[in-house]
Amino acid sequence: MGSRSFLSKLRDGDEIARLVTFLFAATVVLITLLLVFELWTNSVLPRHKFGWHFFVAQAWDPVMDEYGALPFMYGTVVSSALALLIAVPLGLGAAIFLAELAPARVSDSLQFFIDLLAAVPSVIYGLLGFFIIVPFVRSVLFPALNSSLGFLPLFKGPSYGVSYIAAGMVLAIMVIPYIISVSREVLLSVPRDQREAALALGSTRWESTWKVVVPFAKTGIMGSVFLALARALGETMAVTMVIGNTPKLAASLFAPGYSIAAVIANEFTEATGDLYLQALIELGLVLFLLTFILNGLARLLIIVTTQKGSKVAN
């Protein structure tokens, strides 16, 4: 085998296939690197001026040219975390229902419509969030949570409706289709014998689903969560309409906040002045870093739980 010449290996379709598909995969990495490179070189001014201070500074002053990323990082993380906290249980539950319990035709047609949700433009989610969710938060959710759990800093007032939690709720609605759609497909592709084996061993329907089928589909489900997380982190339009656009840190979920993607969307088109523009681009870079770290943490979580699982099996 090793003595075949390169040319003859090339004529072998497999080698070409390997090369060609490798080029495509490499393109993805290349594009990502290029993007990071662009962000890096176009944020040189604020990086030199502020250095690490950028991560902890809280002021955002285009007039005095003072820029800090902390309030935006905070808002991005909080709103995305809230979104996942709502969307993942709900979405996974719905996916399980659609894949395991619902009759095929119901499942397929519902899925069709759920997929359509992904096509609704962000602006429309923003409008719906603004006219429905924001008043709901202000007049229903806040009074309810504040009166019962108001001693917790998480639920303190005052509340105007536009808030981290409103953003989290809108984001949850936006990312649920991804979780349901992909998780359902993955669950459907788990081989039948896995379920049947579990049931044959005497497990209940739920046990076979939760303890056998779902773990089998774990990486696919995690993949859908990553998709959802990425969408939540980068969402601009819908968030800016419901989060209050206030670059200040606050402990309460009902306080107005800001996110990285929202401030870039709001200010980029009107920003003049190199430092200002580049500070916004540096925020884009920070978001990249956040995504990098969050993805890494999540992957670590998978590895740890998988290892634990295999240890138990042994």
Partner: protein
């Protein structure tokens, strides 16, 4: 029946009911949104909407014909660019690569997916618009295509990996080369999941306005070819919905509805045309 068994049965019924509740809640929200869109948009959709160009504020009878065509072009171009890269890249990850390379590519794709759409727009602006000194449909398609890559890639890999080993080994045993196995056995087995993901990616970028602001730019008129600025539905929706004029706001809802219908049609067409008649067994 022992107490433990009764508990397990109860838990099973309870949890399964809960999943039903989850599905119910998700579907309710979905139908509320669709209903809202249908109600508000349906009122304003008219024949003029599909055939006329936009008119200035204060005048009635305008439409978004150029935006509809523009969106179709942009989606077409985006798919041409984004789907092959994601699809073949996914094949590489699932079939050819080692685990280290795979991890790197997957990470890169996840990062790309998390980039805010407006930053993708800025990137496309500096890559495609600035060097040529004008906005274009091509630049817009490039930006949207970039956004389609991560979903396509990850899902292709995921579903290819999910194909049972038996199928692969069976093909190999019959003497098929790796590539032939991939094209005739593995991809067809996984095509459903992949197609779902691609359509999901398409739906996602169809509704994005931010990456188009500095690439496709927008156009009041028809945009011939690929080299000029073009109008697009999400961009029009963004402008009209956030304007103070009631007529424009109504048109924005109509545009949202039309956009959804466009995606629906693409979904249906894609699923019927690309169905190879292979019944993928539902486990």
């Amino acid at each position: 029946m022992s107490a433990r068994l009764r508990w397990r049965k109860f838990l099973s019924n309870f949890m399964l009911t809960m999943t039903g509740v989850c599905a119910f809640v998700s579907v309710i929200v979905l139908f509320l949104i669709l209903g809202y869109l249908l109600f508000n948009g349906g009122k304003s959709v008219s024949w003029a909407f599909f055939t006329k160009l936009p008119v200035p504020v204060g005048e009635t009878g305008g439409g978004m014909a150029n935006a509809i065509v523009g969106s179709a072009k942009l989606l077409f171009g985006a798919s041409l660019f984004g789907v092959p890269v994601g699809f073949f890249g996914g094949i590489y990850l699932a079939e050819f690569s080692g685990s280290k390379t795979a991890a790197v590519v997957r990470y890169a794709a996840d990062l790309l997916n998390g980039v805010p759409s407006i930053v993708i727009g800025i990137f496309a602006y500096s890559m495609v618009v600035l060097p040529f000194k004008h906005f274009s449909t091509f630049a817009g398609a490039f930006a949207l295509g970039l956004m389609m890559i991560p979903i396509t890639l990850r899902s292709t890999e995921e579903f290819l990996n999910g194909v049972p080993r038996m199928l692969r080994e069976g093909a190999m045993a019959l003497g098929a080369s790796k590539w032939k196995t991939i094209t005739t056995v593995i991809v067809p087995a996984a095509y459903r999941g992949i197609l779902t993901a691609v359509l999901l990616a398409l739906a996602r970028v169809a509704g994005e306005a931010a990456p188009l602001l500095f690439t496709a730019f927008g156009n009041r008129f028809w945009s011939p070819g690929w080299n000029q600025p073009t109008a697009a539905l999400p961009e029009m929706i963004f402008r009209y919905a956030t304007s103070p004029y009631e007529d424009w706001q109504r048109q924005a809802w109509a545009a949202g509805l039309v956009l959804l219908a466009l995606i629906l049609i693409i979904n249906i067409l894609a699923r019927t045309i690309l169905s190879r008649g292979i019944a993928v067994p539902r486990s």
